[in-house]
C-alpha cells in the first residue's frame, strides 16, 4: 500500500518537506526517495548500498497497509431522527462489507454530511483519503465538512492537500480564499483568489473574492473594478448586481447603487462545485414530502398533491399549515365541498387561525352564503386587528356587493396596517381604477415603488399602465412599457 500523504497539524507533514509533484506525477512520497536509487551504476557502491539499505525498510514501511478501521458507531451519536438513523445504518452496513473501499467510506461521509453531521463525515472522508491517496476529492470533501464543522484551520490544511493532488480545481481556491478571509488572513485570502483568477479568468468567483478582500482594506475602487469584472462574466446572476450596488453605496454613489441593490436584493452567492454535488442531490431526493406536494401543485397535478397532503396530515395533525394547504389545493382542483370540510375541521382544532378563517370566508362566499362570509371577515378582523388579511377579504366582499366606497375605506385600512403588502396595494389601486379614480390609483402604486425592499410585481405595472392610458399620460406609459419590455398597450379598465 502506498504511503498516505495527508496534512496534519501535529505531525507537521508540510515541514517534512513532502510536496506533491505537479499534476501527472506520482504523489507517493516514496517517489521522493533519494534519487540515489536511480543513479547510474558508475557511482561509488558503498554510499549507494547504504542508501538502498536505508531505503528498504522505508519502502516496506511506506507500503504498510492503512489500518482497517471500523465505521463510526451510530449508537454513540445520541438522539437521531428515525429516518436519519435508518439512512446511516444502511450506509454503514454497505461499508462493513468492504472496509477498505474508499468509495464506500466516501458515500458514508456524504450521508453524514447530508444529515447534518459534518464532524462524523470528516472522519469518513479522512479514511477515504487514507485509503485512496491519489484522489484529490477526498481531501477536498474533508476540507468542506471540516469548515462546516467550524474547524477552519483543518479545512485549510485539507484544502491545501487537495490542491497538491490537483491544482486545477477552481473551487478549491475559492473556498480556501473564503476560509482565510474568515480567519482574517487577508494576504493569504487574496493570494488564493488571485490564483483562482489566474487559473480561470472567465469565472466570476475569484474576482468577487478579490473584491471582498479589497473592501476589508478600504480599497473600494479596486473592489468595484473586481466586482464589475465578475458581473461582466456572469451578467444574468443578480447577485453580482447586489455586490456592485453595495460597493457603489460604499463610495457614496447612491443613485447608481439603488437600482442595483433593488434588482439584486435577496440573491445569494452560488458556488459551482461538482465535487460536492452528490451530497446536495441526496438532500434533494429526500426532501420533505410537503415540498414534494408543493412541487406537484406547481405542475397542476392537484390530485397527486392532495394525496400527499392527506398522508402528511394523517401523520402530523398538529400543524395548521397542512390542512390550509390541503384545502387550498382542493379548491384549485375544483372540489370546494371537500375544501370546506377540511377547513371546518381544521378550525375546530385551530379556532383563531387567520388564514383558515379567511379561507372559510371565501368558501362560504363561493357557496352562496354571503352572511357567513361576512361573519368570517369580521371574526378575522376582531381576532387579528394588526394583520391586513381580514380587511382585504372584507373589502373584496364589499366590492362584490357594489359598495365601492366602503370597500375602498376598508382597503385603505389594510394598506395602513401594512404599506409594503402587495395585496393591499393591488386591491386598493384596482378599486380606484374601477371607480375611475386614476390619480389615486397611480399614487398608490407609485408610492410602492419608493418603498424599501421594493420588489415590484407585474400587477403593479399593469395597474399603472391602465391608469396612465386612461389619463393620457402617454410619455409615462411609454417609459413604463419600455421598462417592463411590453409592446402592446393595455386594455381600458372595466
Amino acid at each position: 500500500m502506498t504511503l498516505i500523504l495527508l496534512p496534519h497539524k501535529r505531525l507537521g507533514f508540510d515541514r517534512l518537506g513532502f510536496n506533491t509533484r505537479p499534476k501527472g506525477h506520482s504523489s507517493n512520497p516514496c517517489g521522493t526517495m533519494p534519487n540515489t536509487l536511480h543513479r547510474p551504476s558508475r557511482l561509488p557502491l558503498a554510499p549507494w548500498l547504504g542508501c538502498v539499505l536505508l531505503a528498504i525498510p522505508l519502502v516496506v514501511g511506506c507500503h504498510q497497509e492503512v489500518p482497517t478501521v471500523a465505521p463510526p458507531d451510530i449508537a454513540t451519536l445520541g438522539r437521531l431522527q428515525p429516518s436519519i438513523r435508518t439512512d446511516l445504518e444502511q450506509a454503514t452496513q454497505a461499508l462493513k462489507a468492504d472496509l477498505r473501499n474508499p468509495g464506500l467510506w466516501g458515500q458514508l461521509g456524504t450521508r453524514y454530511e447530508s444529515n447534518g453531521l459534518p464532524e462524523v463525515a470528516l472522519v469518513c472522508f479522512e479514511q477515504a483519503a487514507a485509503l485512496d491517496s491519489k484522489s484529490p476529492r477526498w481531501p477536498y470533501r474533508a476540507a468542506v465538512v471540516a469548515a462546516r464543522a467550524g474547524n477552519l484551520e483543518a479545512a485549510i490544511e485539507w484544502g491545501r492537500a487537495s490542491l497538491r493532488l490537483d491544482p486545477s480545481y477552481y473551487t478549491t481556491y475559492e473556498r480556501l480564499g473564503t476560509w482565510e478571509l474568515q480567519l482574517g488572513n487577508l494576504e493569504q485570502a487574496s493570494s488564493y483568489f488571485e490564483q483562482a483568477c489566474t487559473l480561470d479568468p472567465q469565472r466570476a468567483g475569484g474576482w468577487a473574492g478579490q473584491a471582498r478582500v479589497a473592501l476589508q482594506t478600504d480599497e473600494v475602487a479596486q473592489a468595484l473594478q473586481s466586482i464589475r469584472k465578475a458581473r461582466e462574466l456572469d451578467s444574468q446572476d443578480p447577485y453580482w448586481k447586489l455586490l456592485e450596488g453595495i460597493t457603489l453605496a460604499r463610495l457614496g454613489r447612491d443613485e447608481e447603487a439603488k437600482p442595483l441593490l433593488a434588482e439584486g436584493q435577496g440573491s445569494k452567492p452560488t458556488l459551482i462545485d461538482p465535487w460536492t454535488q452528490s451530497s446536495k442531490s441526496i438532500r434533494s431526493q429526500e426532501s420533505d414530502l410537503f415540498q414534494r406536494g408543493m412541487q406537484l401543485e406547481d405542475q397542476n397535478q392537484f390530485d397527486e398533491a392532495i394525496a400527499i397532503y392527506r398522508e402528511i396530515l394523517a401523520d402530523r395533525p398538529g400543524e395548521a399549515r397542512l390542512p390550509l394547504r390541503l384545502a387550498k389545493t382542493l379548491l384549485k382542483a375544483q372540489r370546494p365541498a371537500e375544501a370546506m370540510e377540511v377547513t371546518k375541521k381544521a378550525l375546530e382544532r385551530f379556532p383563531t387561525h387567520l388564514e383558515l378563517e379567511v379561507l372559510r370566508g371565501h368558501l362560504l362566499e363561493q357557496s352562496g352564503d354571503p352572511e357567513g362570509a361576512w361573519a368570517s371577515s369580521q371574526k378575522a378582523i376582531q381576532e387579528h386587528p394588526e394583520r391586513p388579511d381580514g380587511y382585504l377579504f372584507q373589502s373584496t366582499l364589499l366590492a362584490k356587493q357594489g359598495l365601492s366606497e366602503q370597500a375602498i375605506s376598508v382597503a385603505q385600512g389594510a394598506l395602513r396596517l401594512s404599506p409594503s403588502d402587495e395585496r393591499s396595494r393591488s386591491l386598493l389601486a384596482s378599486l380606484y381604477l374601477r371607480q375611475q379614480r386614476y390619480a389615486e390609483a397611480i399614487q398608490v402604486i407609485e408610492e410602492a415603488l419608493e418603498l424599501p425592499d421594493a420588489v415590484t410585481p407585474l400587477g403593479y405595472y399593469q395597474i399603472l399602465a391602465q391608469a396612465y392610458k386612461a389619463t393620457g399620460q402617454t410619455a409615462k406609459l411609454s417609459a413604463l412599457m419600455q421598462k417592463v419590455g411590453v409592446t402592446s398597450t393595455p386594455a381600458e379598465p372595466k
Binding site: L3, L117, G184, Q216, Y239, R416, S418, S420
Partner: protein, 564 residues
C-alpha cells in the same frame, strides 16, 4: 552530505509512515489555567436568586427559546444600580390571568448585594416576558420601565421609593404583537422620551409549527418558518403621560422585519439620532428622520443591512461604540451559530463590514449570540467585547444537561478595531454553561469597573463581578438633563490625552436589556479628562472642564459653559 540528508529523509519517512493522521474536529486551544480571570460569578452570593422559567414541557414552542430580559438601573435614586429581571412563565395563558411569580425587582444594598423587593412594588408584571427598557418618560427624575411581552406590553411608571404603577392603558402603549427589545428615544428632539418597540413576528398558538432540525429531530422553529415579519412601533410621547402610535404616519410600516435588537445613535453626526434595528433573518433597518418628519429606511444604502456578501443574518443583540476613535460610533450585531458577527465600521454614516479584519469572523461563528456589549473591562483604553450565548436548535454535542447551553465569550480589544479571545474562556475561571440571552452592563458594586448581569433561559441569572487585572484608569459620568433625569440621547465628547472619546448616553442596547445609563470610559494611562463637551438632546452644547480619573462625575444641563 547526501547520505546524511538521506538518513534524515528516511527518518522522516519512517515517522510519516508510522501513524495515520487524523484531524480532531473542533479542537481548540485549552484554556490557559494560569491566565487571571476577568470576572467572578456571584449571583447567588449577591442575593440574585431569580430563576427563569420558559414554560417548556415537551413540545418546542417558539417563544420559549427567545425569552427574556434584564435591566440595571437606579430605581430609588440612592446612587446604586438595582436589578429588574423579566420572567417567562406560561406562554399559553391569556392576558390578565395570574401566572407564576412574575418579573422580579431587586434593590442594591449599596455594596453589590441585593434584596428582593418585588412584593408590593407594582413591578411584578405577569406577562410572558421578553425584554425591558428604561427611561424617564414622564421627566420626574426617575427611570420608568417598559416591559415587552409575548402579548401585551406594559409601561410601569416609577413613583419613587421602589414603587411602580402600571399605566399601560392610560399611556396607550400595550401593542398587540410579539415584541422584543425596546428603547426610549427623543426622536423628534422635543424634550420628552418617545418609545420605539421592535416587534418580532406575527405569532399565536394556532400558527405554531412543529419544526425539525436534522439530525436531532424536533426543535424550535426559526422566524423563516413562519414568514410573518412585522413592522416595528413608534409611540410619540404627547407630554401628558400618554403616547400616540405614529408608526404608520412616520413610515415605519413601510418596511417589515423580525426585530430583535435596537439601538439609537447619531451615526452620521447630523444632530439627530438614527434608530438601528437588528432583524432576525431579514435585512437590518436604519431609520433616519428626514426633513418632512418621516423616517426613511437607509440600511441597505448606508451599508449596515446585510453583510459584505450581501446576505441578511439572524441579527439578535446589538452594541455600539467608537472603536476607532474617529468621532462616530461603530456598530456590532451578533448572529446565529454558523454566521459570524457583523462589525460595521462607521465612516461618517456609511458602514463597511469589517468583521474578518477584526478577527471576529471565525471565532464568532461557533456560538449563537444574544446579549452583547462593547465595554472597556480592563481600563486599557480599548473596548472589549462580551457575548452571552445559547443555542436555538439542538446542537450535535451538548455541553451539559441543557442541550441549548453554551459558554460565553470574552474578546480583548486591540488597536485598529481588532479583537482576540481571552483565556480563560468567557473570562471566568470555570466556563459558565447556560442558554444565555439578555446581558445588562453596569457598575454594580461601585468600584469603578463594569460588571455584567446575564439572564439565562430556565436557569438562574449570572452576576459577573469584574475582577480583571486593570491596565489603567477609568471614569464614569452621569449626564443629567434639566429635569434631573438621565439625559438619554445626549452625546459626550471627552478629550483624554490625544484622543477624543465619544459616547452617546443610552440604556437601550444588547438584547432585550437595559444598561446602566452612566457613561464609562477606560482611560489607559491618562489620569484625567481635560474637557468634556455635551450635546444635549435639544441641540445645545455645554463644555465641562477637567475631570479626574477614577471617580464618578455628574454633569447637569445648565451648569456647564455654553458652546456655540
Amino acid at each position: 552530505m547526501r547520505p546524511v540528508a538521506n538518513l534524515l529523509m528516511a527518518t522522516g519517512l519512517l515517522t510519516a509512515c508510522a501513524k495515520q493522521p487524523t484531524t480532531s474536529p473542533g479542537t481548540e486551544a485549552s484554556p490557559a489555567a494560569s491566565q487571571p480571570a476577568w470576572f467572578e460569578e456571584c449571583g447567588i452570593e449577591s442575593g440574585l436568586d431569580f430563576v427563569h422559567r420558559s414554560g417548556h414541557t415537551s413540545a418546542f414552542v417558539f417563544p420559549e427559546i427567545m425569552t427574556t430580559g434584564a435591566a440595571l438601573f437606579d430605581m430609588d435614586g440612592d446612587g446604586d444600580l438595582d436589578a429588574y429581571l423579566v420572567q417567562g412563565g406560561n406562554w399559553s395563558a391569556k392576558p390578565g390571568t395570574e401566572l407564576g411569580p412574575g418579573n422580579q425587582l431587586y434593590a442594591n444594598q449599596g455594596d453589590g448585594t441585593f434584596v428582593n423587593v418585588t412584593a408590593g412594588s407594582g413591578a411584578d408584571d405577569h406577562g410572558y416576558g421578553m425584554g425591558v427598557a428604561t427611561g424617564d418618560y414622564d421627566a420626574d427624575g426617575d427611570l420608568d420601565l417598559y416591559v415587552s411581552n409575548l402579548r401585551g406590553n406594559v409601561l410601569l411608571r416609577n413613583d419613587g421609593g421602589g414603587k411602580f404603577t402600571d399605566v399601560t392603558q392610560v399611556a396607550g402603549v400595550a401593542g398587540n404583537v410579539w415584541s422584543a427589545s425596546a428603547v426610549f428615544v427623543d426622536y423628534d428632539r422635543d424634550g420628552d422620551l418617545d418609545l420605539f418597540v421592535t416587534n418580532y413576528i406575527f405569532w399565536d398558538e394556532d400558527s405554531e409549527l412543529p419544526c425539525q432540525d436534522p439530525p436531532r429531530g424536533a426543535t424550535y422553529c426559526s422566524p423563516k418558518s413562519y414568514a410573518a415579519p412585522t413592522p416595528d412601533t413608534l409611540y410619540r410621547n404627547q407630554g401628558d403621560g400618554t403616547f400616540e402610535d405614529i408608526s404608520y404616519e412616520i413610515g415605519l410600516r413601510n418596511a417589515l422585519g423580525n426585530g430583535l435588537g435596537v439601538l439609537c445613535s447619531d451615526f452620521d453626526s447630523d444632530g439627530s439620532p438614527e434608530i438601528f434595528v437588528a432583524n432576525d433573518g431579514t435585512p437590518n433597518r436604519l431609520w433616519d428622520l428626514a426633513e418632512d418628519g418621516r423616517f426613511v429606511e437607509k440600511g441597505l444604502i448606508q451599508g449596515c443591512a446585510v453583510d459584505d456578501q450581501g446576505q441578511a443574518k439572524a441579527g439578535m443583540g446589538v452594541a455600539s461604540a467608537d472603536l476607532d476613535f474617529d468621532g462616530d460610533e461603530d456598530l456590532l450585531v451578533v448572529n446565529l451559530k454558523g454566521e459570524d458577527d457583523s462589525l460595521y465600521r462607521n465612516d461618517r454614516g456609511r458602514f463597511v463590514d469589517r468583521t474578518p479584519r477584526a478577527g471576529l469572523a471565525h471565532s464568532s461563528r461557533k456560538r449563537t449570540r444574544f446579549g452583547v456589549t462593547l465595554s472597556d473591562f480592563d481600563h486599557d483604553g480599548l473596548y472589549d467585547l462580551y457575548e452571552a450565548n445559547g443555542h436555538v436548535t439542538h446542537p450535535i454535542e451538548s455541553l451539559g444537561p441543557d442541550p441549548f447551553a453554551e459558554d460565553n465569550q470574552l474578546m480583548r480589544g486591540l488597536p485598529d478595531m481588532r479583537f482576540e479571545e481571552v483565556q480563560p474562556l468567557g473570562g471566568v475561571a470555570k466556563p459558565l454553561i447556560a442558554t444565555s440571552r439578555a446581558l445588562a452592563v453596569g457598575d454594580v458594586d461601585g468600584d469603578g469597573d463594569l460588571d455584567l448581569l446575564i439572564h439565562n433561559k430556565d436557569e438562574r441569572v449570572h452576576l459577573l463581578r469584574n475582577v480583571a487585572p486593570k491596565k489603567g484608569h477609568w471614569i464614569q459620568i452621569l449626564v443629567k438633563d434639566a429635569h434631573g433625569s438621565d439625559a438619554i440621547g445626549a452625546e459626550l465628547r471627552a478629550q483624554s490625552g490625544s484622543r477624543v472619546l465619544h459616547r452617546m448616553v443610552r440604556t437601550g442596547e444588547s438584547y432585550c436589556a437595559a444598561n446602566a445609563p452612566a457613561v464609562h470610559f477606560g482611560l489607559g494611562a491618562e489620569t484625567r479628562i481635560q474637557s468634556v463637551q455635551v450635546t444635549w438632546v435639544d441641540g445645545s452644547k455645554e463644555a465641562f472642564a477637567d475631570l479626574d480619573a477614577d471617580a464618578v462625575h455628574t454633569l447637569r444641563q445648565g451648569t456647564g459653559r455654553p458652546v456655540q
